[in-house]
Symmetry: C2
Subunit: 303 residues, 2 copies
């Protein structure tokens, strides 16, 4: 897998999913370390909580999608470095706030105590707030358009909106429109930021509009597929595999694909979304191979 | 007070503080209404909570500073419209989160139930989150540099950092470094965003670096003066005047200027900061008159 040359540019080799995720995680963590204030800078407790939450590991799937999209558009890795940090900072803030007692009330995240357990509730609220701020600060190093893209994905019509609809739906009877509501929740909670990650990679690389549009369609499909796969994992995997408490969805009466369509129905839906994602990449040809590898990983992963 | 013409541009008349605040509030509310999703858009509960918190009134001092700074740099009002919304959205999100039970646990804000009292705690957390996102979305309509300016003011080294230091200091014995700590808290909690408001007005107007620097010095001084005046008001005013619960600082053993230096000491400090702010404006000449009027208002206000 030596790098090969195409139209005079050095193109990175295509890696297996786990190897590529490791490479993206390495680059993301360098960028995160650059953007995050030192744990000793005042106020130290706040900066410790921010680093504790961000540096807890995790798959770093969103930075991997930024990097793969940037490379698919023949952009140099350095162009998307701030976006690698931005999407992970944004994602981590949503986890810190979702875990709060007033929200999902989770004690365990990525195999460790959640932020409000390791520190305290006020610090967790503030750490989440500051992580969101820092995400936009990093994003501004790309462009104002990148900030708009991330904000549209993150706000009340994206991630935060999906979380609100999820909370509102909890314990409610699931009517005829349950499938529509579920797609709306998934689109907001998960797909919006995954799609934005792919789009930010394209923006950082200065992609042409048609290429960007193809990548957005890909991002939307794997974003939805990711959440369907997540519902399947919650229903089947162990705490050790997940690094968080499994089976909580069913226990809380949450609206999930598995609850609505059963495990087989959910798996068929994920497979269909994978096909959609791969179809969207056809115009990009061989440069999009890493994105194809990631798409398959999203649907077939076991953690 | 007819508009008069200077070097071929129409210059807005200088208004008394209350009249100018009303004009800025009118423009800010038009811009806020543009940026905020409709209260009927899904998820409606979230959008209602966002509008409830933002449209509760308040002095709109930060938008007024944006507008006055933009005009001082001879920028047309329309240039700073997104920034009027951005600073008020950012400010409102910090109020919504500060009022939460895990933070200051306040029931009353601007004379009405706080967001988590009128809705619920989860919705208040999410509404605050989405208001912060929207602030950066609006700011991106100015420039990437404007986003960076707002983020630096809002994050762990600005507003959120000040709030954390304030919480950490609560109930602690006040040592020899109490005055330093207090300035650090004030600089973060209040001065950072007030300074950024003035700077955003200058950025929106495309001000020259020297002008921008003078405005930043002005913003820093009145930002600190604002918080000193706030401490004085908390110690002396009634709930009807403040629209929130007075005397809480003393009851909670909070570190304030009044607690450290007494009411007279605090008032002298505010006067000194006012002089600093006015001194910084000297190079701007008559165009900065509205900023001078606002500076005096900040120190002499009774609400």
């Amino acid at each position: 897998m030596r790098p090969h040359s195409s139209i005079g540019l050095t193109v990175a080799p295509v890696l297996a999913a786990e190897a590529f995720l490791s490479e993206a995680a390495r680059q993301a963590e360098l960028s995160l370390d650059h953007w995050l204030p030192s744990a000793t800078a005042a106020p130290a407790r706040l900066h410790q909580a921010m680093r504790y939450s961000v540096m807890a590991g995790g798959k770093r799937l969103r930075p991997a999608l930024v990097l793969a999209a940037c490379r698919a558009c023949l952009g140099a890795d350095v162009l998307c470095a701030p976006a690698l940090a931005a999407v992970e900072l944004l994602h981590t803030y949503t986890l810190v706030h979702d875990d709060l007692p007033a929200m999902d009330d989770d004690d365990l995240r990525r195999g460790r105590p959640t932020c409000h357990k390791a520190f305290d509730e006020a610090t967790a609220i503030l750490a989440g707030d500051a992580l969101q701020t820092l995400a936009f600060q990093a994003c501004a190093a790309i462009s104002a358009e990148a900030v708009t893209t991330l904000a549209l994905a993150a706000g009340s019509l994206g991630v935060v909106g999906g979380q609100q609809e999820d909370l509102d739906a909890e314990g409610q009877p699931h009517g005829d429109d349950a499938a529509d509501l579920l797609v709306r929740i998934h689109r907001g909670k998960t797909a919006a930021l995954i799609r934005a990650s792919v789009e930010l990679g394209a923006l950082a690389a200065g992609a042409a509009p048609a290429v960007r549009q193809a990548l957005v369609a890909y991002g939307e499909a794997i974003g939805l597929a990711f959440q369907v796969a997540d519902d399947c994992l919650d229903a089947t995997a162990s705490a050790a595999e997940l690094g968080k408490t499994p089976g909580k969805d069913a226990a809380q009466g949450k609206l999930t694909y598995v609850a609505l369509f059963g495990l087989d129905g959910a798996r068929a839906r994920a497979k269909h979304l994978l096909d959609e994602a791969l179809e969207a990449l056809v115009p990009l040809g061989p440069h999009a191979e890493q994105l194809r590898v990631l798409a398959r990983f999203v649907v077939e992963r076991t953690r």
